[in-house]
């Protein structure tokens, strides 16, 4: 039986072995010529090429676009206007009153996004942690519940938006339940507070499975003997959580925080389907603003959209670096 398995294994890997043998001689020649460092560059080149074509070049182009004006789409149709688009985005008579800003919708989007990030990331981390802690216990149907919590992650954001729209709209499921319970129906998505809360709740529901999985992996990597020692010392559970679980989850927390932060600043698709940015502009977030200005508006302004996205990118970089610095500092303190 082992012989058959070995034969099958060889058969399956045969094309790769053949390919490796074929490329081996030229690579050896190449390595003699470039040295080991040069070989690293060779192996990195395909990934760098993909990164360059799909990330770096668009980033540079975006920056160039942000310094052009006019209504043309191609660069050669657009005059260079320097930092004018940035000036337009940041121009305000009174920064405490958004409507005095020249691009008031940009500031509305910035404020809304800031609120969304604070509430959504906090909720996401707390809910993911609680879910991970529960799923880490030896409960019945643990595999089933893990699948249930992860399932929304597999859904397309458009599907998520539509499902919740059908639940929350005037003739939706929630109102049907409310009416059957003798309550007054509500147009949930027409209320500023409910609509904002819905965007936070829906995006948390849709993505928490992913973060739960990261935290669960962290929880399972914590050595059991630490908990056993704590149990022998009759340490209260809250102290065990604060002194063992939380500190050892630190690296996973850092990953979850950075990813959740980036994802929530970039929030767009499910919210666009769910609320369209409304009511009014109360759920207009930055990415939708950029999309509206650059693509969906009747008279589109790619330069202004590019400038807004560069500013958003800059904020994301700062937040990520800050986050990493804080988590490394915390790790360093723990190590001491």
């Amino acid at each position: 039986m082992a012989g058959l398995g070995e034969t099958l294994g060889r058969a399956a890997t045969w094309p790769f072995t053949l390919m490796a043998r074929a490329v081996d001689p030229p690579l050896r020649v190449w390595q003699r010529w470039t040295g080991t460092g040069g070989m690293a560059a060779v192996f990195l080149a395909p990934n760098l090429a993909i990164f360059g074509v799909f990330v770096l070049i668009p980033l540079v182009l975006n920056f160039v676009y942000s310094m052009t004006g006019g209504t043309g789409i191609l660069l050669d149709q657009r005059p260079f206007i320097g930092m004018e688009q940035y000036g337009r985005l940041l121009e305000c008579e009174d920064y405490t009153r958004r409507i005095t800003c020249r691009e008031d919708q940009f500031w509305t989007a910035v404020t809304n996004t800031a609120g969304f990030v604070i509430f959504q990331v906090t909720l996401m981390v707390v809910v993911s942690l609680i879910t991970a802690l529960i799923l880490n216990r030896n409960i019945r149907g643990r595999g089933f519940f893990r699948a249930v919590f992860f399932f929304p992650v597999l859904l397309s954001p458009v599907v998520v938006g539509l499902i919740w729209r059908w639940i929350l709209q005037r003739e939706g499921l929630l109102n049907l339940i409310a009416v059957n319970l003798g309550l007054e129906p509500e147009i949930w998505l027409n209320d500023r507070f409910y609509a904002f809360a819905a965007t936070i709740g829906v995006s948390t529901w849709a993505h928490m499975g992913f973060y739960t999985l990261i935290l669960l992996a962290g929880l399972q990597a914590i050595p059991r003997d630490l908990y056993e020692a704590a149990e022998m010392d009759a340490t209260p559970p809250s102290r065990v959580f604060r002194r063992i679980t939380l500190p050892l989850l630190g690296p996973n927390f850092a990953v979850v925080l950075v990813l959740a932060l980036i994802r929530s600043v970039q929030i767009f698709d499910e919210v666009y389907v769910l609320t369209g940015g409304g009511p009014g502009t109360s759920t207009l977030y930055l990415t939708q603003y950029i999309y509206e200005v650059g693509f969906a508006s009747i008279l589109r302004n790619p330069g202004l959209a590019a400038a807004a996205s560069i500013l958003m990118g800059a904020v994301l970089v700062v937040l990520t670096l800050l986050q990493l610095w804080l988590s490394r500092r915390a790790e360093g303190r723990r190590a001491r």
């Binding site: 209504t71 191609l74 147009i187 027409n190 369209g276 409304g278 009014g280 502009t281 207009l284």
Partner: protein, 425 residues
């Protein structure tokens, strides 16, 4: 085995033959959107065209209206796109249309039958033949006759004002416990018929956008008040940001509102989806203080300048613009005809059993005689969209309680100035 080999060779020859045949055909791609059944009708007409023109293969790409509005402009700006497209945003993209004058069989035929509306789709001062209007449209209202009858409320008659219609619809709403009295599409184009009725003027003496005037604000104020009073369906205008287009067609079809202001292009759609669920009528545009005029428009079929096959495009366009084909298209799609010969010949045999359709079409044809200086000028004015976009954005914000009407007025002026400024850079 011999049979198998012979069959294989025969199949291979046939395959190569068909490839060679296909390679000999010129492919023309038409980007097309539908409001109702016109996509099916057009496919049928094109199938017949291909039978008589085996050298041309016409591919009808059915897309959502949003694709025409958002993706086609980007394709055009980069010098790409289909060979032919059905477009509503005609004037603003006029630089991208192919001038068919030197390619069509008889330019005089085109001038005679479509010439009145060439200015809607070509740059100012040009004598190009860019295409033709597949249909004329006119904004106007629809009322759910059954709901009015059930409520015992008489429908306002000729010369009724916006206030009359909203007051009557309010009675129906209260009687039938409906969520709202009326809805108007979330579109600057749609509400411009209302602003025109109250004497709005968007166009300055120099042809550039004029400041927002009292006529515009009168109708905007009414819309806001009607929303605050719970008379206008809030989901359409309040529940979205920016210039997002939203129609209330489904709400009318589902009998959630007794009165709906949209346009003639919906007739086939309403007929198909409402069926005999209830009776409905077209009402024309309610009157304001100055006029009772709907806003004309329509979809145009235009050749794209970047096509590699302008001659073949012209052959397809000649066929589709012919009186016989357009008559059939009009009769089957239940659209208002845009072909002068078809209009003058009359006797259109609209193909429907729905008793609501013929009176609705007649109402829109009669309403097309009503006009105002603004509604006459808007279809051929290149800055119309600058106005439409900001009207929708800012009035929605007022409805949502974010800004006041006065603030909205100055912000709309600023938005339009910014648009003009960007375009002149």
């Amino acid at each position: 085995m011999k049979f198998t080999m012979t069959s294989f060779v025969a199949l291979a020859v046939a395959g190569f033959g068909s490839v060679a045949f296909a390679q000999g055909r010129t492919e023309i791609r038409v980007m097309w959107y539908s409001d109702g059944i016109e996509g099916e009708v057009m496919q049928d007409l094109l199938d017949r065209f291909e039978e008589s023109h085996p050298e041309i293969d016409v591919v009808l790409d059915n897309v959502a209206y949003q694709v025409i509005q958002e993706q086609l402009p980007i394709q055009l700006a980069s010098g790409q796109g289909p060979d032919i497209a059905r477009v509503t945003n005609l004037k603003e993209q006029a630089e991208h249309w192919l001038d068919l004058r030197e390619y069509v069989e008889d330019p005089a035929y085109w001038e005679t039958n479509f010439g009145d509306r060439f200015d809607w789709m070509r740059p100012d001062g040009s004598d190009a033949i860019p295409g033709f209007m597949t249909q004329l449209t006119l904004t106007g209202g629809f009322a759910n006759k059954t709901l009015f009858e059930q409520a015992g409320v008489e429908m306002p008659g000729e010369g009724a004002t916006w206030d009359d219609w909203i007051a009557a619809s309010k009675e129906v709403m209260e009687s039938q416990q409906l969520p709202a009295a009326f809805a108007i599409d979330r579109s600057g184009h749609r509400i411009s018929a209302g602003t025109a009725s109250y004497g709005a003027n968007y166009i300055g003496d120099d042809g550039m956008p004029a400041p927002i005037d009292d006529g515009t604000m009168s109708f905007a104020t009414k819309l806001v008040e009607w929303t605050e009073e719970g008379l206008m369906l809030p989901e359409v205008w309040v529940s979205a940001a920016g210039t997002t287009y939203r129609a209330a067609t489904d709400d009318f079809i589902n009998a959630q509102i007794p009165f709906y202001y949209s346009g003639s292009w919906l007739i086939a759609n309403l007929s198909t989806k409402i069926g005999d669920a209830f009776d409905w009528v077209a009402t024309g545009t309610p009157c304001g203080t100055e006029a009772c005029a709907g806003l004309a428009g329509g979809a145009g079929l235009v050749g794209i300048k970047y096509t590699q096959h302008p001659k073949e495009v012209a052959v397809v366009m000649d066929y589709l613009a012919s009186e016989e084909v357009l008559r059939e298209f009009t009769e089957r799609t239940l659209f208002l005809p845009a072909h002068k010969g078809v209009v003058e010949a009359g006797g259109l045999n609209f193909q429907t059993d729905d008793p609501n359709v013929a009176p609705a079409l007649e109402k829109f044809i009669a309403a097309s005689g009503e006009s105002s200086p603004l509604t006459d000028a808007l279809p051929a004015w290149k800055w119309g969209n600058a106005y439409y976009g900001t009207l929708v954005t800012r009035i929605s914000q007022v409805m949502a309680g974010e800004i006041s009407l006065d603030e909205a007025r100055s912000m709309m002026d600023q938005d339009i100035a910014d648009q003009v400024g960007a375009a002149s850079q």
